[in-house]
Symmetry: C2
Subunit: 327 residues, 2 copies
DNA sequence: CTAGGTGCAAATAATTTGCAGAGGC
DNA sequence: GCCTCTGCAAATTATTTGCACCTAG
């Protein structure tokens, strides 16, 4: 949906290159953080460089939106604001009606619900607007939180992507540990143990990466959450684990594992692809790949186990039994 | 949040009463369904009554918003639209970018997430805007769905409120049936059985009411969902049932039941209070009351059981055991 | 030289407002 | 007769556009 990282140079106005007014406006825009209105931007531009007309600012903004550098947002104030889109995933907004500041968040849970609702209404969604209007913490308490500038946004996003991956990994580990514990077939047990070990190892890698990321910015951990996830991929494995409790044979456990890994893989891949180039994107895609490997292993094992069982007992004994009962 | 059903008569312009232009504008506005822009309304008004100025329409709209008769909504088109607020709960929007139509939905799940996010960001939310932009089914398939006019909206809302109550009731029934099945104490079993029976009976009442509602409008069941719920109160009982599977004594089962009923009661009460006078509101509030009765019964039984157990075994044996281990 | 960017002022579009007159109680 | 509503036209606000001019390649 989001266009890929634009090649800024190719989008530069063909005519002017260095001292073009457009470049100066762009420069001011990219430097400032938050959501500016056209007039805000005009004021800022004219403060550091006279001789730029309001119309130029408007035209430059139009060009930036078209080029994928900026996004036009509407906070219901009767005019539009603009936010940087470059290396900045699509997100939702918290809008303070008192100080007119706005902060951003992303929620895979909200997005999942929106998709569900759109599907239920036979609606082909292209974009969602989610805004929470109210009063921000600063306006009520007076304290100012750590401001989030451009590079920090990317770090926070990477942090949250890692948190999400770690949560999923933990759930996966728990799932495989349980599956190994209740496996009947010795080879099945070995597979689950192997997967549990792998998840554990990968969990370690992710946690190490998380620590490294946090080490680079001591305040990073205390910064507000940007990416909210709850029912995401970690929820899949949690669901799977609950199903395991209900019992079932190794084949079923493998099937549940396959479902979880597939869902998880697709989830991370889809999100990863949606984001613009950033560490967060990379984390998503790497994790998706990891899940794909597990998925393939599980499928192989499932086939192998079924083949082995097929020698002694009929395949799908449950279905066969049900059929007998019906007759 | 929404103001209560306004007393229209008291809000009538003190001056004009019968043929006041304001009344004529209001009349046209209330008659039309959907989301009109000021200009739309002006056109409609002037079509059936000449001699009303554009400014009057604007002023009347302002007055209607202030009086809680209309809500101003912003679909990002560069102008505002207005929707009736009278007997019409706050909701979210699906907006077709092709035909500029818009339909409405409500999702307790989305709302719950928004609350969570606002809380995590230390943000005092007053209102949420959720819009799904895209292409509607009609625009893609050409078919027109059953149009939803004023009274139908209320019916659909009542239908969905009933569906939600029924889903909760079913979950509750399942929960109590399971609890009764695994109860150890004979009196505990009786209580759970009684509650299961009550839920079953009430479920029957709700289903009957549902059938009656549907009988009044044969198309009602096929109309698109307005109220989406998933993790709502029915989810609470489902969670509770899962906890029961893990085992535990009767006291714990009672505690889980108390938690579920309390959550469910608060949920329905809160939503019911939020809505404007309508059958849906009534269903919510009645159901909340039902849950409160169960809650009280459970609390009484919990106390009684603990008192009885206190005679033979020490209270909270689990905690005592854990303490011993620690020492 | 030429395509495009730019300034300026005028045009639009949605909405509000000042003010004189009208209408109901 | 008073108070509020209304109409009309002018004002406001955000944004776009026509057009002549300028500028880099």
């Amino acid at each position: 949906m989001d266009r890929q990282l634009p090649d800024l140079s190719s989008l530069r106005p063909a005519g002017g290159k260095r001292s073009s007014k457009r470049d100066r406006v762009l420069n001011v825009f990219l430097r400032q953080e938050g959501h500016v209105s056209a007039d805000d931007l005009f004021e800022r531009v004219r403060r550091e460089a006279a001789g730029i007309a309001r119309a130029t600012v408007y035209r430059t903004l139009q060009w930036m939106v078209g080029a994928g550098i900026a996004r036009k947002v509407d906070f219901g104030e009767g005019r539009f604001r603009f936010e940087p889109a470059y290396r900045h995933p699509r997100h939702f907004h918290l809008i303070c009606t008192r100080c007119h500041s706005s902060s951003e968040f992303l929620s895979t849970d909200v997005e999942a619900l929106m998709e569900e609702i759109a599907a239920a209404r036979n609606f082909a969604a292209t974009q969602s607007v989610v805004q929470i209007h109210g009063t921000c913490g600063e306006c009520r308490t007076g304290r100012k939180p750590a401001p989030i500038d451009g590079p920090t946004t990317e770090l926070v996003f990477a942090r949250d992507a890692l948190r999400m991956a770690i949560a999923t990994e933990r759930s996966g580990l728990e799932f495989y540990a349980r599956a190994a514990g209740q496996a009947k077939d010795p080879r099945g047990r070995t597979v689950f143990q192997k997967l549990a070990a792998e998840e554990g190892e990968h969990l370690g890698t992710l946690e190490k990466r998380y620590r490294q990321l946090v080490a680079g910015d001591p305040q990073l951990e205390s910064r507000p959450t940007f990416l909210f996830f709850k029912g995401a991929a970690s929820g899949l494995f949690a669901e799977g684990a609950k199903e395991l409790i209900k019992g079932g044979d190794d084949l079923q456990a493998l099937l549940i594992g396959i479902r979880c890994e597939r869902g998880s893989h697709e989830f991370f891949k889809r999100y990863g692809e949606r984001f613009e180039d950033s560490e967060g994107k990379q984390i998503f895609l790497e994790f998706a790949d990891e899940e794909r490997v597990h998925l393939e292993l599980l499928i192989r094992e499932y086939r192998a186990l079924r083949a082995r069982q097929g020698q002694s007992t009929p395949a799908r004994p449950a279905v066969a039994a049900r059929r007998q009962r019906r007759r």
